[in-house]
């Protein structure tokens, strides 16, 4: 099941990877290995040296950031086609967050050493990798501006839409996107009390924008 052909075809559906030169797509897949994780395993641990890039092939991961209280707060949940490890690998800096397996995960892994070998052999490819980080930067920048500048209902709606937009970039679909987060986790992500979040989710559901499930929010297509 670790044949490179199907992996390449699967990843080509993604917005970033799909736009790369075919030669670079093939190089990334050839020089990567397939790795597996159990729920709770760390793909990337915050503060560690750059490890490399992962693409989720099966399963679900969460990106977290450690708060001053020592708690790991979720920043994003990613599914099939989600890439992570981009900041540290491209910047050559320690990682700024953790990525943890939420389920059993199968992932493609391009080590930092293989990444460096690729961009050393063909320096123009660095720019192609940077496109991934530029997409992320635009989203993070927007979220930061909205953190304290929007009414809470609007902020919540935009944050859910932003997470759903990343899922649609990773694996295009016109259908709904299920965001697997508990309401406690989502409340901490948007800075609301659990009670207030519940009220606001009810309003967004009444507007037909989302459906609230058990530990899951479905964002309509």
């Amino acid at each position: 099941m670790d044949d490179r052909g199907p992996i390449l075809e699967f990843l080509q559906q993604g917005h970033w990877f799909g736009a790369l030169d075919t030669a670079l797509q093939q190089l990334i897949v050839q020089r990567s290995i397939v790795v597996r994780f159990e729920p709770g395993d760390y793909l990337i641990e915050e503060g560690s040296p750059p490890k490399g890039l992962y693409a989720v092939l099966e399963g679900r991961v969460r990106a977290t950031r450690r708060l001053m209280t020592g708690r790991d707060a979720p920043v994003h949940v990613g599914g099939r086609g989600f890439w992570c490890g981009d900041y540290a690998t491209l910047a050559g800096q320690p990682t700024i967050g953790s990525t943890i397996a939420d389920t059993r995960v199968r992932a493609l892994f391009l080590s930092a050493a293989e990444f460096e070998r690729i961009v050393d052999e063909e320096p123009r490819y660095y720019r192609a990798f940077m496109a991934l980080l530029l997409e992320r930067y635009a989203r993070v920048f927007g979220s930061v501006a909205e953190l304290h500048g929007l009414p809470s209902e609007e902020r919540l709606r935009r944050r859910l839409e932003s997470i759903a937009a990343v899922w649609r970039d990773d694996l295009p679909t016109n259908g709904p996107v299920d965001i697997r987060l508990s309401q406690v986790e989502l409340a901490s992500m948007v800075g609301l009390s659990r009670q207030r979040l519940s009220t606001l989710l009810g309003r967004l559901e009444a507007q037909g924008l989302i459906e609230v499930g058990f530990r899951s929010i479905r964002v309509r297509g």
């Binding site: 950031r65 707060a73 980080l133 635009a138 920048f141 909205e146 304290h148 500048g149 800075g191």
Partner: protein
Amino acid sequence: MLRQGAWFGRLPARLQALILACLTVRSYRKSEVIVREGEPGKGMGAVLDGQVHLLRRVGDAREVLVDVGESGYWFGTYGTLSGGAPSIGSIVATTPVRVLFLPLAAFERLVADDPRCYREFARALTDRFAHMYRYMAEAQGLAPEEWLRTRLLDLAHVRRGDAAVGGPVSIQVSQADLATMVGVSRQTLSALLARLEARGVIETGFRSIRVLG
């Protein structure tokens, strides 16, 4: 001036010289828009003198202050590194401003001649990415007073990097503008500043905050 900056100062001397040869000086009047959000990136610039605000539209009409830049502050890196993608924020002159500008075409020539230098340019953005990511993750859990303190300390930190200065940093910004950054009313902001002053973090002046930490 540019060589004192955290990003430019760490570039290889050869690339510094190549960039300097491509820079042109542009002047702007107070309130003039230097980069308009949504318009294609046209290049990147460094403030030579004066002050700029980095603003981002949220919701339908409001603009939120995201950053304050003075001499040595680079802007336009996102639009430039992406080869002319729509700008993700506006840069507005809050005083008469002179900037050193590297047009997109000159940037593209530099990276075409030596593709390895793209990575050097990218550092201007990756440093900010780490800051922005941290804000996004942490700010929700912070009370407004701590969020304001974090933002002021970071503005001072960036300012020290741009101008290679140590010690207290004065940030020229009105309380009305600062209030949009924290998402509180002008009155609440005033109370928060007074508390930070009492804690010895800042001194408030006329349209100016002096960050001591």
